[in-house]
């Protein structure tokens, strides 16, 4: 049995639970059949892959049994023996099993591990090849009397998953397919400091978004932490609503078929780069596309760039903060970020540049694109060398502590003066202690009332404007891009929004029981969500230093410290931006979620 990833089949269902696309891979399926026949016994034998109608009805059954498409995830009183939530593990919201009932034979056939990825209105199911004993093991686990949850027990889900790298591969396939069918298969954004001048061969080939304008990036969505599990699973509260949203695009099956035939013709993923594959499919090759004379062209660069040469870097910090303004709870501020790159360079050059801010005391993790080479050990400053692929790509991801104070701090108080009326006060200081010139593109704070409707509010901000939607009040502090220097920055330090009165009305769509509960408790835990975006120095301290020079053997020194080998003349543009991720000020008068911080 191969240790790599092989896919037996994949299915895409719409939000009416009908299969709208399916693909089975006979070569892989045959391997499964042979393996099953070797290990078959009274309880286990080979079953044909289900037809679309059988799969759809099994999926609908599971949805009914498990409460939603994803399922409960953990063992709840409704959990049924033999079902996924019986196993009592959140991963069963992503790696699911289906019981296929063969009508004529009256027997049930267990399909596992099915990778479930929900994208827009679609549920994507991918079935990787495993060994029969894996399936038998899972089957035992979901039928165990104690719902199999002792950590470190002899047969446990963790050990099983560790033995199945194909699950990871299948997820990558599912995610790529999700992006294709939704039409989101775009590259990471690289912001150019100068006005964009896209064109030439590259963009038409990669179908890329080009160098998108700064405003193209959507503002972070305001959401309270209790519901901030937006990235995936277990939504807090009993309402585990993960019903897919309605989509507007019909599924383009031809695009999908063509992708599959290139990316995984026999079910074994070979290359999942959608931009490359679609370029090859739509453009093909001409006799003018000659391979380089001295080197082999890598698989990830099927075309070579021709035109004006330049290279762009964007350092992008995202700040996550939980601010409490309480003595007993420390604030938590972390930064996750990435360096995006786009290298419009002819041939197959290597690029090297010095990256500062890698101090291990502050940087918690670093992950590089496969094209990069990084010295194994190094200090705060290291030379990164890479052979860039086509188009925009994320050169590295990092996680770091904030090297300066938080960009926005202050406190927020909300108390209810009557059942339907509240008084708010919040006081913020922006960019306190920041000296370097920076540009703030926008800055806003939002008071979300996810379960309530704001009827009216009253209050005068000392700067900016206040407005409300049905479920939130938003204070736009800075709406137009402002370049801020020392004095203007200081002026922002102590801005105060005076008492703001809001009247709240019951939201009719809530169920009675939940509403009663919320009246008692949840109203006190509301938080203030801050969103902002600024262009300026990174808060993580990550930078490509424009002044220093780095001695690199084998690399010719260019005017820029970014060096390209073989040496060519290319413009280098570097920009930095900081945006808010989950940036939340908790109501000091209410309840708030916390996490214990271990004493290092």
């Amino acid at each position: 049995m191969p240790s790599g990833c092989c896919i037996r089949g994949l299915w895409i269902l719409n939000n009416q639970d009908s299969v709208i696309f399916s693909r089975k891979f006979p070569v892989v399926e045959r391997r499964w059949r042979v393996a099953c026949e070797k290990e078959s016994d009274d309880n286990f034998k080979y079953h044909l892959l289900p037809y679309d109608s059988e799969l759809a009805s099994a999926f609908a059954d599971r949805k009914k049994r498990e409460g939603s498409a994803r399922g409960f995830g953990i063992h709840v009183s409704q959990s049924v023996k033999g079902s996924d939530s019986w196993v009592d593990d959140p991963i069963t919201r992503h790696v699911i099993s289906l019981h296929i009932n063969k009508e004529e034979k009256g027997e049930s056939n267990l399909l596992w591990p099915l990778i479930l990825h929900i994208k827009g209105p679609y549920s994507i199911l991918v079935l990787p090849l495993v060994e029969p004993h894996h399936l038998k093991s899972y089957s035992r686990m979901c039928n165990r009397s104690d719902c199999g949850s002792a950590v470190g027990a002899d047969e446990n889900l963790s050990s099983l998953l560790l033995d199945l790298p194909s699950i990871t591969g299948a997820f990558i396939v599912a995610h790529t397919i999700g992006e294709i069918i939704i039409g989101e298969a775009v590259e990471s954004e690289v912001v150019a400091a100068s006005s964009p001048s896209v064109g030439g061969l590259l963009d038409s080939l990669t179908g890329s978004i080009g160098i998108s304008g700064i405003s193209a990036r959507p503002k972070p969505v305001a959401a309270p932490v209790a519901a901030s599990t937006a990235s995936g699973t277990a939504v807090s509260g009993a309402v585990m609503s993960d019903a897919p949203k309605m989509g507007s695009r019909p599924l383009d099956k031809d695009v999908l078929r063509s992708f599959i035939s290139s990316a995984m013709p026999f079910g074994t993923p070979l290359d999942l780069s959608y931009s490359n594959i679609s370029a090859i499919k739509s453009t093909g090759f001409s006799s003018a596309d000659t391979p380089p004379a001295d080197r082999k062209q890598p698989a990830w660069k099927p075309y070579l760039y021709r035109g004006k040469q330049r290279i762009l870097f964007t350092i992008h910090d995202t700040v996550h903060a939980a601010m409490y303004d309480r003595d007993e709870i420390p604030d938590s501020i972390t930064i996750s970020g990435q360096v995006n790159c786009r290298a419009e360079l002819e041939g197959l050059p290597d690029v090297s540049f010095p990256l500062t801010g890698l101090d291990t005391a502050r940087v918690q993790s670093l992950t590089f694109h496969p094209c990069a080479q990084v010295p194994e050990h190094g200090g705060d400053k290291q030379a990164i060398t890479f052979s860039p692929p086509l188009g925009n790509f994320v050169l590295m991801h990092y996680q770091a502590l904030c090297s300066v104070g938080p960009p926005i701090k202050g406190f927020y108080q909300l108390s209810m003066v009557s059942e339907n009326e509240g008084a708010f006060l919040f006081k913020l200081s922006l960019m306190e202690g920041y000296k370097t010139p920076l540009t703030i593109e926008f800055c806003a704070v939002t008071m979300p009332f996810p379960r309530r409707r704001v009827v009216s509010f009253d209050g005068t901000p000392s700067i900016g404007t206040v407005s409300n939607t049905d479920h939130s009040v938003e204070w736009k502090i800075i709406t137009n891009t402002q370049a801020l220097l020392g004095r203007a920055l200081r002026r922002l330090f102590l801005e105060q929004l005076d008492l703001l009165h809001g009247k709240l009305k019951e939201c009719l769509r809530l169920d009675q029981q939940l509403e009663v509960w919320l009246m008692k408790t949840v109203i006190l835990k509301l938080s203030l969500v801050v969103s902002f975006k600024m262009i300026g120095p990174s808060l993580s301290g990550m930078s490509i230093d424009p002044k220093s020079r780095l001695k690199l053997s084998g690399f010719k020194q260019c005017e820029h410290e970014v060096s390209i080998f073989p040496a060519v003349k290319a413009t280098v543009e570097i920009s930095t931006q900081v945006t808010s991720g989950d940036y939340i000020l908790w109501n000091t008068l209410g309840k708030c979620p916390v996490a214990a911080t271990p004493e290092a």
């Binding site: 063992h75 991963i91 699973t233 807090s236 509260g237 006799s287 000659t290 080197r295 994320v394 309840k591």
Partner: protein, 497 residues
Amino acid sequence: MAGKLLSPTEWESVIDDYNLGGAANLHRWTGGASVVDLCISSLLRKDFPVQLKLNLLTFLEHDSLDDSPLPSSSLSRLIDALRSVIQSPSDPFALKDQFLISTTAIFITSLLDNDELISGSPLRDLVELFLTIINRPNHGLDRHTRGVACECLRQLELAFPCLLSEITPHLWSLCQSERTHVSQWYVLLLSTTILNVVKLKPSGTSISSMSNATIPLIPFSVPQFLIDGVGSDFVWKEKEICYKELRRVVAAGTSGFFDEGAVLMAALHVRAIALPYFLGIYFKFLDSFQGQELEVASRIMLLSKEPQHHLVFRLLGLHWILGFFALIVGEDEAKKRSILDMSLRFYPTIFDPLAIKALKLDLLAYCSSLICNPGDASGLKGVEADKGVYQVTLFKDGLVSVSAFKWLPPWSTETAVAFRAFHKFLIGGSPHSDASSSSVGTLIESDIFYTLQVANEFVCTAPDAILYGLVGRCVASEVSRHVSLEEVLAAMGWGRQ
């Protein structure tokens, strides 16, 4: 019997019907005629749209799964059709590529179920066609199709091991010549072929040297040992092939892959997503990685902390750690100790999604379960007390992250996660594989249990259903085989009986 020709619209319905309910639905369309023959006629029609032809090819592949193996005559017809499409200047590459793929898939499923066909001409003709396609290195226009043909050959080699063993020198030379982006496909084909040669050691091969081919690439003939029966007498004959040369070829193709663990660890920093595959290698060569366990664990832990990864990869990362610990820990006190030293890193953070928090709590419960003797925890980082205090610290600290259950509705997921964690701490801390009557005492007298007893807020806020559920699970579990429901309830002091 030749069936009637189906129109494009009819084919659409055939395919839809088939996908929905399988081959049983086909008869009314085909009238008993062979589906393959009907498809082939349609595939050769110039007036049929390309997209439909692509669908027909996938349909044929799917049908090969539940239909009986195709007879030699159908396979020959399929090859003829394939050849005419490949040679046609007007057919687009997309159709050619898919035709190559589908034909290969159909061949593999049909031939494997009918050994007699291996010696027949269809397989030889198919391989020969592929070899003709790939034997034009650096040719511009059809480069992608050449890559696809390489992959088709590779699949045939995987299905019929050592099918291409005799022409390995040619493949090696093609690999060296090819410089376009499909060169990797050539390398993949070559390495699969070599792997099979090394693994199965076919006798009777006529490879004398990798650099000197003794037989021509075309015409191709299926090796005699395959016709005689796969794997019947594969004996390595060292003289027949230069082993050193093979090593050199492998080294050129996969340079640096077999380096030491430390290098692989460095590579891990490059690509977190390669982790599961690295772990696979790790477990195969466990001894070579002695002393690097914690570095591996730390790296996996980072994966779970990196927010750029989709939630599921972070969850998988936490599972791998749990599975990994279970594998390495054994009875080794030093390893236990180093895992316990890591425990502070498993604390849930404020922005962790609830699913991550749940699994991190599992990790803490695991750490808690590692402590068997009262003295085990002394001297651990951040812990100055004995076993019980340490376990309770882990439990309390962990629980803080889901403490919102205290003010969320009792049916909230936080509440369920909190009680799930309680259950894990309780169960994890007691011997579970050899449950004996003494475990009753262990369970009820455990410090965690005691903590919960006094943690009134915890108990009071829990809805009855959750409490009953929890107790039910405790009782059902192997651990407390000897504990009655009444005992547990009484010990918890809830007095619900």
